[in-house]
Amino acid sequence: MIESHNTKGLIFNVQYYSIHDGPGIRTTVFMKGCPLKCLWCQNPESQRLQREIFFELEKCTGCGICVQACSEGAIELFEGRSRTNRKKCSGTGRCAEVCPVEARKIMGRSVTAKEVFEEVARDALFYQRSGGGVTLSGGEPLAQPRFAVSVLKLCKDAGIHTTVDTCGYASWDTVQQVLSYADLVLYDFKHIDPAEHKRYTGVSNELILDNARKIYHELAIPMLARVPIIPTYNDSADNIKATTQFISSELGKNIKVHLLPYHRLGETKYERLEKMDLAVLIEPPAEEQMLALQEIVQSFGLEAVLGG
């Protein structure tokens, strides 16, 4: 794959002092665009590979400045506040620039690999001392493979430890090319049953599981498993058992499993994207349930961690 400093990518956040996305103190680059559509997605702003407007209704004064500014005619005033026609919006970000009360924010920043690298390198000081580095997350890093490779290569060349957090849904070719620049992979297991996986995420998990085997055995990259615990969707003991079974028998017993309890911080994001219809309202799992699931994983002889 042709990587280059000037390869452009779309990201939506750079999170410094990120301490739950791999070893040490890290900087996590959140890339935009994801091939999956998990019903419970907690980062809905990460899904589309396109710039979008985050709108804080509470702040809007209904002044109408943004309506005038929008070249696409995507904004109208409604009940004293602005409202965006998301189909018409092309993500110019003009409205965010003019809004006097910062009710509008543009999600998604088009940057070159070099620019991202420079942002990441700022904290090199802390990586050295803590054994940290960069983590590409998303969204799905594999959805922008050339950009991902370019960023990873720049980091590796600068001696920065690289981690990729992926759902694993991409052609083997892509997986191989991107991950050859990764020192560590955080691999998501959303559901072990192919049909359920398809039902909740939009795609089956056969390719994902297959890629996992190859990454672990052929590329021999250290791997951490990440299992989101979403009540009523994938939190049954059976699913966790089967998932752990897969990890321990088909991958390796040295893989640490992180059980990530669902949190509700994503809910407001649906509001801000004016997509409330897509938000599912789920109660986070109880502490006791998390502990019970942790025990299940441990019973296979794997190390299990609650949270990041």
Binding site: R122, F126, S130, S137
Partner: protein, 798 residues
């Protein structure tokens, strides 16, 4: 927490606190009798009167004895800071403090005795008619502004503690000497010195008074301990419970011995320590020094000889926390705003390098932390000294305590602290023995003291610069004429004008400090503290009347410097570089407090570079300002013989200081709080997390400063696992290795704080870190509460 500690701790939670006048009365009686005698002797005798006569008591379950006031949890009116006006007393009663009608009437009579004789009155003699200084004192450039000649900066103090004022000393007395040698030895030395004294100079006469005063107070302290021995003996005789009877007997034996003679056990050492601590208070800034160092030999010997186990040691250390909680304090209204929540900084310094460059961490250091974890009271404060060789286990232990949310310990970096002393000519070995006094200022045990520290509100000077030396709030010409800013053609001109104004007001600050120092020296000699400093008897001088081995008598302290850095960045970018707005428009916008047509301009200003994001554009301005402050400070002499030295702590003056300051070009509204801490970004302006804040702070050369302050607020989810704590420890170490001085953490989520505002009754024990000290959240003013909530919460990936 065991039953004893739980019970003693519950005694601390009162609905209202009694104001006491017993100490005031005893002192007044004595002073009336000694009229005409040398001041230091009068003071010594008045203290002896207090120690001989004040009501004493031992509370049920107490192991370490020595009450702080004549009533449990009481606050003794402190006469040395000026009278309590009726208005001030009324406002205290409104806030739930109690005083009986008879005592209130008596207080009025006592007050009248002190008209003009207080510290404030004496300073007023000089300040009141001075053309330059009086308008300055009233302007609020120094916080709090003075109201009138008589009332100074707003009423006096009422506090626990049995010693002599002044309270705002930053110093550490020689605890080790008392514990290891006993007071009898010092008394004997003083008597010996008196015998050989030849009156060949005026100083010899002074020395004679001093030595006599020392003998009077030290003997009185020993008698005071004996009063407790007798009381405990009487109580033991009547005690039905045999366990408690034994405890009381042990108290009696201990009090009969300690202070006069060297302590033999950990228990005796603690009791000795506490009596001395009672005598260096009332003081919001009394320091325990390197408690884990000088106490360790006693602990170790007891453990080795099987007299003590860790559980017992822990119980005693918790008792000590509770004793310190009994040292209440409250100040006049304006000072209450300056440091809220019964602010005090009784700092225990632990860990760090020994003079021989070894790691000083020992078992006791861990136990002190464990005691705070088990008995999570806001006081005493703990500060952990960190150097390269600090064990990681110790860091984790300290962070475990941080995690409980009580806002302590604070962490400080040996490297920059030691460098500060080296720069000021202190030998390396001695520098390594530094201690924290007050919230973060450093001193050398028994070798130095800081007596004057004012809060200088830098953004007020920025406003004055914007108006060519005129204070926009009063229209008075307060500073020099540095030019109409509308005429300036480049940023350098603007900066030069600001610096000129700053230097002018700093000089006034220094002058005011000297007036304060002289008044203190004249009116408030303290033979207790003075006798516990190095070479005290040979020197034969009060601690304010001698040049100390390390002389840092007065420090200069900028508050809100970061707001000025942000404001200068906005001016530079928007007015001079991008020319998006004119100076005239900016001034109009500030005068209009950003209202009306200026809403958009405020947005532009808010978007200008802000300190705390690792952005050189503004960080280098902050660096330049702090550098300039340090340089200018060093040009001013103090009345005690040294130079002024720079420090940078803000207590909570950034709240009320902000209230006195108009809108500023960083986008801040008039009256809003200023940046807290001195290395901390303006709240909400740091958008890139704690590493960027740290990188910004590291651009400022902190070495010339006696202290700096950086608060970080974390969401509890950032400190869940040991792994998380290790990462935080790495952050701390990195900061210190690269020249950072101080870090402290508030760990509590927003929801809890909001709930506490709504339902204070459910959160009576919620403790937060304010600025260098911890306080009960519900006791803080609303503005400070809001500010804590708004302070950026460094959260995890969302």
């Amino acid at each position: 927490m065991n039953e004893r500690i739980a019970k003693l701790k519950s005694n601390l939670q009162l609905e209202s606190f009694p104001l006491c006048i017993e100490k005031f009365k005893l002192i007044t009686q004595s002073l009336e009798e000694t009229e005409g005698q040398p001041e230091i002797l009068r003071r010594a005798k008045s203290l002896a009167r207090v120690l001989d006569k004040i009501t004493i008591f031992i509370e049920d379950g107490e192991l370490i004895v020595g009450n702080a006031a004549s009533k449990p949890m009481g606050l003794e009116i402190d006469h040395d800071y000026g009278p309590w006006s009726e208005e001030e007393i009324a406002s205290l009663k409104d806030e739930g403090y109690t005083i009986s009608a008879e005592e209130e009437a008596e207080l009025k009579v006592l007050n009248s005795y002190y008209k003009g004789k207080s510290l404030v009155g004496r300073m007023g003699e000089v300040l009141y008619e001075d053309e330059r200084l009086w308008p300055f004192m009233q302007s609020g450039v120094l916080f709090p502004p003075w109201k009138s000649r008589e009332e100074g900066s707003g009423g006096g103090y009422a506090q626990g503690g049995l010693g002599l004022a002044p309270g705002f000393y930053l110093m550490g007395v020689d605890f080790a000497k008392v514990l290891n040698e006993g007071l009898q030895k010092i008394i004997a030395e003083a008597k010996e010195e008196l015998k050989v004294l030849k009156f060949t100079s005026a100083n010899a006469v002074k020395k004679c008074y001093f030595l006599k005063a020392v003998i009077i107070v030290l003997e009185a302290i020993i008698r005071f301990a004996h009063r407790f021995a007798n009381l405990a003996k009487e109580m033991a005789a009547e005690e039905a419970n045999s366990l408690r009877r034994k405890e009381l007997e042990r108290i009696a034996e201990t009090c009969l011995r300690v202070l006069a003679y060297p302590a033999r056990t950990f228990y005796e050492a603690l009791q000795s320590f506490w009596f001395i601590f009672l005598l260096i208070t009332p003081s919001p800034t009394a320091a325990a020094g390197r408690f884990d160092q000088y106490m360790y030999p006693f602990y170790k010997r007891d453990i080795e000889e099987g007299r003590l186990n860790d559980e017992e040691a822990l119980e005693l250390l918790q008792c000590l926390r509770i004793k310190d909680m009994q040292l209440n304090r409250i100040s006049g209204k304006l000072n209450r705003q300056k440091n809220e929540g019964m602010a005090k900084w009784h700092n225990w310094t632990i860990g760090g390098l020994t003079p021989e460059a070894e790691d000083g961490t020992n078992e006791l250091s861990y136990l002190i932390l464990e005691a705070a974890k088990r008995c999570p009271t806001p006081h005493h404060t703990i500060t952990v000294r960190v150097h390269e060789g600090t064990p990681e286990d110790f860091m984790l232990k300290a962070l475990e305590v941080v995690k409980t949310g009580i806002g302590m310990p604070a962490f400080i970096g040996d490297k920059s602290y030691i460098e500060y002393f080296i720069r000021n000519g202190v030998p390396l070995q001695e520098a390594r023995d530094y201690i924290v006094t007050g919230c973060l200022d450093a001193n050398l045990p028994a070798q130095s003291r800081t007596a004057s520290i004012a809060m200088f509100i830098v953004p007020r000077v920025f406003e004055i610069t914007m108006h060519n030396g005129v204070d926009p709030h009063t229209g008075k010409q307060l500073g020099p004429r540095t030019g109409e800013v509308e005429q300036f053609t480049c940023f350098d001109e603007f900066m030069a004008a600001f610096k000129e104004q700053l230097a002018y007001f700093m000089r006034l600050n220094a002058e005011r400090n000297n007036i304060e120092l002289c008044a203190m020296k004249e009116l408030l000699p303290d033979p207790v503290r003075s006798s516990l400093m190095s070479d005290a008897i040979k020197e034969g001088r009060d601690v304010l009347d001698r040049v100390m081995p390390f002389e840092n008598g007065a420090v200069m302290n900028p508050v809100g410097m970061i707001n000025v850095a942000d404001s200068l960045a906005a001016v530079r970018k928007l007015v001079f570089e991008e020319k998006k707005i004119t100076m005239k428009q900016l001034k109009e916008a500030l005068a209009a407090n950003w209202e009306g047509e200026y809403v958009e301009m405020r947005q532009m200003c808010l978007k200008a570079p802000k300190y705390g994001n690792d952005d050189d554009y503004v960080d280098l301005i902050a660096r330049e300002l702090y550098q300039y402050w340090a340089e200018v400070t060093g040009t001013f002499d103090t009345a005690l013989g040294g130079k002024h030295l720079p420090t940078a702590i803000s207590i909570t003056a950034h709240g009320p200081g902000g209230a006195l300051t108009g809108a500023t070009p960083n986008g801040r509204f008039a009256g809003d709080v200023l940046a807290d801490g001195t290395m901390s970004p303006m709240r909400g302006m740091d958008l890139n997390g704690p590493t960027a804040v740290i990188k910004s702070a590291l651009k400022i050369n902190q070495d010339p400063y006696q202290a700096t302050l950086l608060n970080l607020k974390f969401h509890p989810s950032a400190l869940k696992t040991t792994e998380d704590l290790r990462k935080l420890s790495c952050l701390i170490r990195t900061y210190f290795e690269l020249g950072g001085k101080h870090l402290q953490f508030n760990v509590v989520d927003k929801e809890t704080l909001l709930d506490a505002q709504k339902h204070p009754e459910n959160h009576r024990d919620l403790i937060v870190r304010v600025a260098g000290y911890s306080a009960y959240f519900i006791k803080l003013g609303r503005a400070v509460q809001d500010e804590i909530i708004k302070r950026t919460e460094h959260q995890l990936t969302v």
